[in-house]
């Protein structure tokens, strides 16, 4: 989606995230998840798609199985666990929850892949440059921290620790490694701050040198995503939610809500499909 402005990409992802988070509809959640998976397939290939699909199915299965254990509402009793009803409706509610969570995770993953740190800085830097820089640095810092944790752990193994497999010892050692990582983080933060000072940060307002202007197509797409999100919210208020208790009933406006969700998925899916085709058909073959 590099042909589109970063704001358009952000708008497409945000629209889907809002629909998945605020609309309690089984069909809309499934549509949002499928749209996200399709985008992932087109953007990152079969391997990423298969991994994400497997993860989402596992998540949905876990929430569908565990929800009836804590919520015993519903008319269709499948079995009794500890003399408490395990109902089909509660299971479907758990499934909807899992699909929504899976969908949100997939679209957040896509957001990270479709927008690089420079683009995020340029988008949020207009609202709050300091907040944008903090977010960008934190996003960059997390992988460094994980890498450091692995390195310290390996150094300790190489120097005789972590040989004992007793859970208490392992826990103590892991907490010591975590403590060392925190100490390193403080040092790294101080170094980064010193480097930023040394390179003039804070003396003048920051500028974004690689901001690109919004094209007409971008404006239209952003407007479309805004309208679709607003429509989805209206459909939700007008009865777009799935009723799970006492029995499963689809909402009056649920088909419209689902259609809105599909429409929100269309711009990124079409753009990514077009780009995939372009790369396959138009690029020179060596």
């Amino acid at each position: 989606m590099r042909t589109l402005h970063p704001l358009t990409r952000l708008a497409a992802v945000t629209a889907l995230l809002l629909i998945l988070m605020f609309c309690r509809s089984l069909t809309a959640a499934a549509a949002g998840l499928l749209g996200g998976l399709l985008c992932l397939l087109l953007h990152s290939g079969v391997r990423s798609f298969a991994k994400a699909l497997g993860g989402c199915l596992c998540l949905a299965a876990v929430t569908a199985i565990t929800d009836p254990l804590v919520s015993h509402r519903g008319m269709t009793v499948l079995l009794f666990v500890n003399s408490r009803a395990y109902t089909l409706e509660s299971m479907l509610y758990g499934l909807q929850l899992g699909l929504s969570l899976g969908g949100v995770t997939i679209w957040l993953t896509l957001a990270r892949r479709l927008l690089n740190d420079r683009e995020l800085l340029s988008l949020f830097g207009r609202i709050s440059p300091k907040l944008a820089l903090t977010v960008s640095m934190t996003l960059g810092f997390i992988p460094r921290l994980i890498k450091k944790q692995r390195r310290i752990h390996e150094a300790q193994r190489g120097a005789g620790l972590f040989a004992d497999n007793s859970p208490t010892t392992l826990m103590q050692e892991h907490s010591a490694v975590f403590g060392a990582c925190i100490a390193w983080s403080a040092e790294a933060a101080a170094d980064a701050a010193r480097s930023m000072n040394g390179r003039g940060y804070g003396k003048h307002p920051s500028v974004r040198s690689d901001s690109r202007p919004l094209a007409r197509r971008d404006m239209l797409l952003i407007l479309a995503e805004l309208c679709i999100t607003a429509a989805a919210m209206v459909f939700t208020v007008l009865g777009g939610s799935t009723q799970f208790y006492p029995t499963l009933t689809f909402g009056r406006s649920e088909p419209h809500l689902t259609a809105a969700c599909v429409c929100a998925c269309l711009p990124p899916v079409i753009t990514l499909a077009k780009e995939t085709l372009q790369w396959k058909l138009y690029t020179s073959k060596h």
């Binding site: 640095m137 390195r151 300790q156 005789g160 620790l161 060392a180 790294a188 390179r199 307002p205």
Partner: protein
């Protein structure tokens, strides 16, 4: 015109009892290339950081310091410490985007820097994926983008292999010669830029012990251990480069050959690696491509090779931290889990070994975790001569001190095999020689030591056996005298001076013997 003027400068860190710098008076002219030398902890970094006001350390400062040119760039010792972004592009753009100039000007400055230093191919790469040399290059570019008039570099070569260091040195020289940038470079090693610099400043315990032109500095007794190999070989003469050394050797009467030192014979095999193959992913390149080696009791083996060739991976596989997909590693003839022979590894970043806030607490913690008496902590520090460092935070130790304390931490598990990853990285020549002698003592006590290093002088001086690692294989595993006597391009400076003229010479003492003089020993 003066770029830097310092008079009677004193500086003491807030937390320290003694001053880090005492009565420093110096002047650096605009466009000069100055080398700031001295041992670890002599005050080089403190002096550099004081010259860049935004990075000045906290402490009590007295005296005069005038920096007449406003744009000063500072490159820290570890490039990672200075990075504030994820990708190369963001890192390059950071300074100009915060300099109150228009976006078009920012883009022009960045484009000029990227084109001049040829880093276009790196732009979209994450900083974490860069090699050591690439990180140094990006770090330099992120400073050069603002076109500084004064450039301060803190030990830029300490983490680079000889070939990468040479190319980085020539880049720095170009910046000085072509752009007229004033450069002050703090460095232990005189292998690079010593002969090309305008002046050498030598710091000793925070005091300026010498401020001389390089050829005069070569005759100063305080600098003897820090001089290029060429200057150490010819007493009374001052050749500074390999070329000058060859010309000097050619002009002087010398023996055509020095006797090849007899290598000790080792019998008990402690570690065997047989046809190791390792890759980080199934479809990835083989980092180890049929590596085989044998390490004996009492032997010190040095594996040399370029940055990123897989030396550290080899060490991790030998230590049992990574599993090869083919081949096997045997400790005393048995696999690691069944063997009574213990191996321990000193990582490249020694601070990764410390989990506690002081060195002694860390030793005690490790001993307790390994079920050993905590009293051994003080004994180990005493043995290494580091008792005075017991209560220091590991991050506050100098390079040499950290290396010694890290070595002590590794030795706490009583290993028979010691695997060391770049043990001399960032050490001054005196600390490096001290580490070498210590390792030889361990070998005399029956330990087997395997080091991976790109410090060829260290390998030549202290190893019994040497090998060159390239393309995932050990290319030549042989006794050190034979290894260096047969070497060509990838060798010590003395070997390059003596090539074709004195057979078997690869250390200063060999060349001194060939010239009929007394050796340093």
């Amino acid at each position: 015109m003066e770029a830097v003027h310092i008079k009677a400068l004193n500086f003491c860190y807030n937390s320290a009892s003694s001053p880090a710098l005492t009565d420093i008076t110096l002047s650096v002219g605009a466009g000069e290339l100055v080398m700031l030398m001295g041992s670890s902890g002599s005050g080089k970094t403190t002096l550099l950081r004081l010259m860049k006001s935004e990075t000045s350390p906290l402490g009590r400062l007295s005296g005069e310091m005038e920096i007449s040119q406003p744009r000063v760039g500072y490159l820290p010792q570890h490039p990672e410490d200075g990075f504030v972004s994820d990708t190369v592009r963001s890192e390059i753009l950071f300074a100009p985007e915060n300099a109150d100039i228009s976006p078009a000007e920012v883009r022009r400055l960045a484009a000029e820097t990227i084109s001049r230093f040829g880093i276009g191919r790196l732009l979209s790469r994450p900083l974490s994926s860069l090699s050591g040399g690439e990180k140094q290059l990006v770090s330099l570019c992120s400073v050069m983008v603002m076109q500084p008039e004064i450039l301060l570099l803190d030990e830029p070569f300490s983490r680079l292999d000889p070939v990468t260091a040479e190319s980085f040195a020539s880049l720095i020289l170009r910046v000085n010669r072509e752009f007229g940038t004033t450069i002050i470079i703090a460095e232990h090693s005189s292998d690079y830029l010593f002969a090309d610099c305008d002046r050498v400043l030598f710091l000793e315990n925070g005091r300026l012990a010498a401020d001389l032109a390089p050829r005069s500095a070569a005759g100063h007794p305080a600098l003897h251990d820090y001089l290029p190999a060429a200057a150490r070989c010819f007493s009374g003469h001052t050749p500074l480069t390999v070329r000058e050394g060859r010309e000097m050797l050619n002009a002087l009467p010398h023996a055509k050959e020095v006797p090849l030192e007899k290598s000790p014979v080792f019998e008990d095999v402690l570690l065997t690696a047989d046809d190791l193959r390792f890759s980080f992913s199934r479809s990835g390149e083989d980092i180890l491509d049929g590596t085989s080696l044998t390490l004996h009791k009492g032997e010190m083996l040095s594996v040399t090779g370029a940055n990123g060739c897989g030396k550290t991976t080899l060490l991790r596989v030998l230590a049992g931290l990574l599993r090869p997909y083919s081949g096997r590693v045997l400790y005393g003839g048995k696999p690691l889990k069944k063997s009574a022979v213990k191996a321990a590894m000193l990582p490249q970043e020694v601070t990764d070994l410390f989990l506690q806030p002081t060195v002694i607490e860390d030793y005690r913690y490790a001993l307790k975790a390994m079920g050993k008496p905590e009293s051994a902590a003080a004994v180990m520090l005493e043995k290494l001569g580091c008792s005075h460092l017991a209560d220091m935070h590991p991050y506050d130790l100098s390079g040499g001190e950290a290396q010694l304390c890290g070595l002590g931490r590794v030795l706490l598990c009583d290993p028979q095999i010691l695997l060391l990853d770049e043990p001399t990285k960032g050490l001054d020549p005196v600390s490096s020689a001290k580490t070498g002698r210590l390792l030889r003592t361990f070998c005399d006590e029956g330990m087997a030591v395997l080091t991976v290093t790109h410090d060829l002088d260290f390998a030549a001086e202290f190893s019994h056996t040497c090998a060159l690692f390239c393309g995932g294989r050990i290319e030549s595993l042989m006794p050190t005298p034979e290894f260096f006597a047969a070497s060509g391009f990838y060798s010590t400076a003395v070997r390059r001076i003596a090539r074709d003229m004195v057979k078997n010479a690869f250390l200063p003492k060999h060349l001194q013997a060939a010239l009929g003089g007394e050796t340093d020993d």
